[in-house]
């Protein structure tokens, strides 16, 4: 007969507010096989853990059920505690009576009953748990960093400086990301490129970093410590080893009217192009969609002019495989657009602002390019329609963001700050102009941030209006902006020369494709989800994959950099060991009953099952059976549920365990739910009666 200990946590009042914890403990004590059942205010605290450890020793427990929060929260804590008391950690399970019970139900009888049943379910499972040992696997001490913006650059440099090899994959022809597009950065107004380009150069020249630009992750196999990554190097049509980056080809290219991605459509580029002068690598790429040779079959002007014969029209996409132990995802963000059919088809555009068709209504990144010394106007603020200097500019915050009827509820976090910065950049260049800002709330809780916003208002004279804008329309030379100032209660109409929309920060369009390949989860907006919002903010639920920067949610530069270093340190921790332990949740085959139908081999998503010959001493084949490679098996259990002869089981989630859980739910006859008063006189001896 089992000797199980049940430990019911009050979690302060988080559980006890709606669940009668004392009753849960009392009822648990009456379940067969339970040797001891106790409740305590904070089971995860030191005294709480001590209580468990003492009980294990005192009652010689062979299983523990901690009835508290979600196992995702504290399973590790309690498994560690029972190990310290000499119990195998896999003999400890958690009954989730907080997230799945006390927090989601009212204070009523069925809630406490549910808590008791959840305990009983786990008790029945633990009775059938087996002492297991974690699986040891070798760690490949190389990292993959996906995304070459400031977060990816920082993570790559930190890991590389820590002495490990890094594979950095960037989808665009150059690293740099959005930060390279910015003019100046808040709250210090230092030049973005001045602080970023040295890091870009470091990434390009670091001996530990292998840089794949114009490349994408095609496939990922394996698991923490042992990932196998297939990278697609898109055909650049230029041999970057031969090319010297002289730029002759760009000058001669006849196809010159392609909107530049880097300048966000405010300037044109050629079909063979280096995205911007500071690009790393400073090597061109041919945009095959627009190249005259690729579309019409004639031209080759670039090839003729190239002094090193680097242009290669025959180049094809190339696939390379890399083995890594950990992955940092730093795929960044893009901006929501107000277009009717933008890159985010799930979200409505802004018809009331003309669906982004008016050239003088631009977004924040376009304004950055206008204000940038390296931008299309050389840093002069000129409106796109006619190049005139705008005398009044209206900045609109919360476009897309905090706008549930357009499908987005979150705050984009960075717009309050960059809009204040924009008003300053504008006023520093157009002294007699007026900058108006429509805002809903000012969110500037960073170091020196609120002071910065006040400076925009007090020193640079930006006019802040608290309200949203209902419509923007063109009237001759001007844009009419119809907004409101709720502080005065007035409707406000402004004749503007240019309007700048602080549009929502969104994940890269289509990024969920990559997240699916990585097997990591993401939220409704397709921002990657962290393992725990507070305590594991840079890890994914999938071990060995870490998050950095705005792919996880809107972030400014300091935050992205900090998170990138945090992700790098997580990777370095992973690489600090030669071997790592994995949960022993793996499938095992009963060779006596296996009928060699090979359905498991076919269905296993990880090719962890192979065919094994069983031979007698003479080497004659007796039979063939399935065999699981435990270092490849991830424990999904598909094989166990599929096996025709029921010969595969999954450690930790065996058929026996699951059936006992099901049985326990429906067990009756045992009055586990006496009213508290009625139960007063019960003694443990009566329980089997």
């Amino acid at each position: 007969m089992s000797k199980i200990g049940v430990f019911v946590c009050h979690c302060g009042e988080n559980i006890s507010r709606t669940v009668d914890c004392a009753r849960v403990a009392k009822a648990s004590g009456q379940i067969r096989g339970v040797a001891v059942a106790k409740d305590y205010k904070y089971m995860c605290s030191d005294p709480g853990q001590a209580l468990i450890k003492n009980a294990i020793k005192e009652h010689k427990l062979d299983g523990v059920v901690v009835s508290a929060c979600s196992p995702h929260m504290h399973e590790k804590t309690f498994r560690k505690a029972v190990t310290e008391a000499g119990l195998n950690q896999f003999l400890c399970e958690m009954a989730n009576i907080r997230e799945h019970c006390s927090w989601v139900h009212e204070k009523e009888e069925p809630t406490t009953r549910k808590a008791i049943e959840l305990v009983r379910l786990m008790v029945e499972k633990v009775k059938r748990n087996m002492a297991l040992e974690p699986i040891r696997v070798d760690v490949t001490k190389r990292a993959l960093v996906i995304g070459g913006g400031v977060a990816g650059i920082q993570a790559a440099l930190d890991i590389a400086d820590g002495g490990h090899e890094v594979i950095l994959v960037e989808k665009d022809p150059s690293v740099g990301g959005h930060m390279a597009q910015l003019s100046e950065t808040f709250p210090t107004l230092d030049c973005s490129q001045c602080i970023l380009t040295p890091k870009m150069v470091d990434v390009g020249s670091h001996p530990n970093i292998k840089l794949y630009t114009y490349s994408e992750v095609e496939k990922i196999e394996g698991f923490v410590g042992n990932f196998k990554v297939t990278i697609k190097k898109k055909a650049r049509s230029v041999d970057i080893d031969k090319c010297t980056g002289c730029g002759e080809c760009q000058l001669k290219c006849p196809s010159k009217k392609i909107p530049s991605e880097f300048d966000r459509g405010l300037k044109n580029r050629t079909a063979i192009y280096i995205p911007f002068p500071q690009a790393v690598p400073a090597r061109p790429v041919i945009d095959r969609e627009h190249c005259i040779y690729f579309t019409k079959g004639k031209c080759k002007a670039c090839q003729k002019v190239c002094p090193t014969e680097a242009v290669d029209f025959e180049q094809t996409d190339e696939y390379v495989e890399e083995e890594v132990g950990g992955i940092v995802v730093a795929t960044g963000f893009d901006l929501y657009t107000t277009d009717k059919q933008g890159p985010y088809p799930d979200y409505k555009g802004y018809g009331e602002y003309g669906y982004g068709e008016d050239p003088d209504i631009i977004d924040g990144l376009q304004f950055e390019r206008l204000a940038s010394a390296s931008g299309p106007t050389g840093g002069a603020i000129q409106r796109p329609s006619d190049g005139k200097e705008p005398k009044s500019v209206v900045f609109l915050q919360c476009i897309g963001s905090r706008h549930p009827s357009k499908g987005i509820e979150f705050c984009s976090k960075i717009c309050c700050m960059y809009t204040a910065k924009h008003t300053m950049l504008y006023k520093h260049k157009v002294h007699h102009g007026t900058a108006y800002v429509f805002y809903m709330d000012i969110r500037a809780p960073g170091k020196g941030y609120d002071e910065f916003v006040r400076r925009a208002i007090e020193e640079d004279g930006a006019v802040y209006l608290r309200g949203r804008v209902s419509r923007i329309y063109r009237s001759g030379d001007h844009l009419i902006v119809k907004g409101a100032d709720t502080l005065s209660g007035a409707a406000v109409e402004i004749e503007a020369d240019m309007v700048v929309l602080a549009t929502a920060v969104m994940p890269q369009p289509g990024i969920e494709g990559l997240f699916q390949k990585l097997g990591i989860s993401y939220d409704q907006y397709k921002f990657a989800s962290e393992a725990h919002p507070k305590l594991r903010p840079v890890e994914c639920a999938t071990a060995g994959i870490f998050l950095a920067g705005a792919c996880q949610g809107p972030k400014d530069i300091p935050e992205s950099v900090a998170q990138a270093s945090a992700a790098a340190s997580k990777a370095l921790i992973l690489f600090s060991r030669d071997q790592m332990l994995r949960e022993p949740v793996v499938a095992k085959v009963n060779e006596n009953t296996c009928i060699a139908c090979w359905y498991c081999v076919e269905i296993c998503p990880f090719t962890a099952i192979s065919k094994k010959d069983i031979r007698d001493r003479q080497g004659n084949l007796i039979k063939r059976v399935a065999e699981v490679n435990p270092s490849l098996c991830t424990g999904c259990g598909t094989c166990a549920a599929t096996c025709f002869s029921n010969s595969i089981d999954l450690d930790g989630f065996t058929d026996e365990q699951i059936y006992s859980e099901i049985n326990s739910l429906m067990a009756v006859g045992q009055d586990l739910f006496p009213e508290p008063e009625k139960a007063e006189g019960d003694s443990p001896d009566e329980k089997a009666a």
Binding site: K340, G351, E352, G354, Y355, Y473, R474, S475, G476, I480
Partner: protein
């Protein structure tokens, strides 16, 4: 092509020209607008301003009158369209609301009934290509400002085109050879529901709409609502008197222009009914 036609009160009074021109046009296109018998007033804006539930109850009564004619109710007036479509959409999507309205009106709701504005019928059912074939007198060189007003596309759930940037009337009139102008006040409210009690405010709103159309270079405004047309047409004199602005910009129904394009005479579409006459303009463009 037969539709249950609900004219509404204005079309039998101040907007008799809208009714007549629509019927003349429909006949030329081979569309049958069969008037529902014994219809009542939808109550326009005052009805929901008094009691929103009452508006839905009356709308349900109106929808039920289409039985035996067609599941599609053709409507020309934007206020009627708004009240009926809003009730119809709400009842179809919200079971609780549907029960309430059925209870109040004592009439079961038929979820297959659809309220259709005539613009939508021309665009989707009849089709622009078919329409083009019927055009005998293209509206060439006529610069038209298409005016939607507020009620045709608000709330967005009842809109039959993009609620913020509809192009349906432009598409239709362009198919008839007209040149349409791009202008800012296509969807701004003209204040028609206050035309009687708050005339001064309404003069301001109408003046804004007319000025916007004029600045965009329009010769004429095309309307799809009797309240809008009456307001834009009749208030020009008040604007001249009170605000000192003379617009002299004809505002007519899109059905009148289409009727002419399809060969109807001026009389057949009652083009002479407007306070600001469109006749001289249309003569100058050789359309009359």
């Amino acid at each position: 092509m037969t539709y249950a036609y609900y004219p509404g009160c204005s079309l039998k009074g101040t907007a008799i020209d809208y009714h007549t021109s629509a019927l003349a046009l429909a006949e030329r296109l081979g569309i049958e607008l069969k008037e529902m018998e014994d219809w009542v007033c939808c109550g326009a804006s005052p009805i929901h301003q008094r009691n929103p539930a009452l508006a839905s109850g009356v709308a349900n009564l109106l929808l039920s009158l289409s039985e035996g004619i067609s599941k599609d109710v053709a409507v020309l007036c934007a206020a009627c369209y708004h009240n009926m479509k809003k009730a119809e959409v709400e009842m179809r999507e919200d079971g609780k609301k549907r029960n309430e309205v059925e209870e109040l009106s004592g009439i079961p709701f038929n979820p297959e009934v659809r309220t259709r504005h005539f613009l939508d019928i021309l665009d989707k059912d009849y089709g622009l290509n078919a329409l083009k074939e019927k055009v005998v007198k293209p509206l060439s060189e006529l610069r038209v400002a298409c005016y939607y007003g507020c009620l045709l596309s608000r709330p967005p759930e009842i809109a039959f085109d993009d609620p913020e940037q509809p192009m349906i009337m432009e598409r239709i009139l362009e198919a008839a050879g007209a040149e349409t102008v791009s202008w800012s006040h296509r969807l701004e409210c003209c204040g028609a529901s206050h035309a009687v009690p708050l005339t001064d405010a309404v003069l301001r709103l109408v003046n804004d709409v007319l000025a916007s159309a004029r600045d965009a270079g329009a010769d004429i405004i095309a309307c799809a609502c009797p309240l809008c047309q009456a307001n834009l047409d009749m208030r020009q004199e008040g604007i001249r008197a009170k605000l000192g602005v003379a617009h002299n910009l004809p505002a007519v129904y899109f059905t009148q222009l289409l009727g002419i394009a399809c060969g109807a005479t001026g009389k057949q579409v009652m083009i002479e009914k407007g306070m600001v006459s469109a006749v001289p303009l249309l003569r100058a463009k050789n359309l009359l």
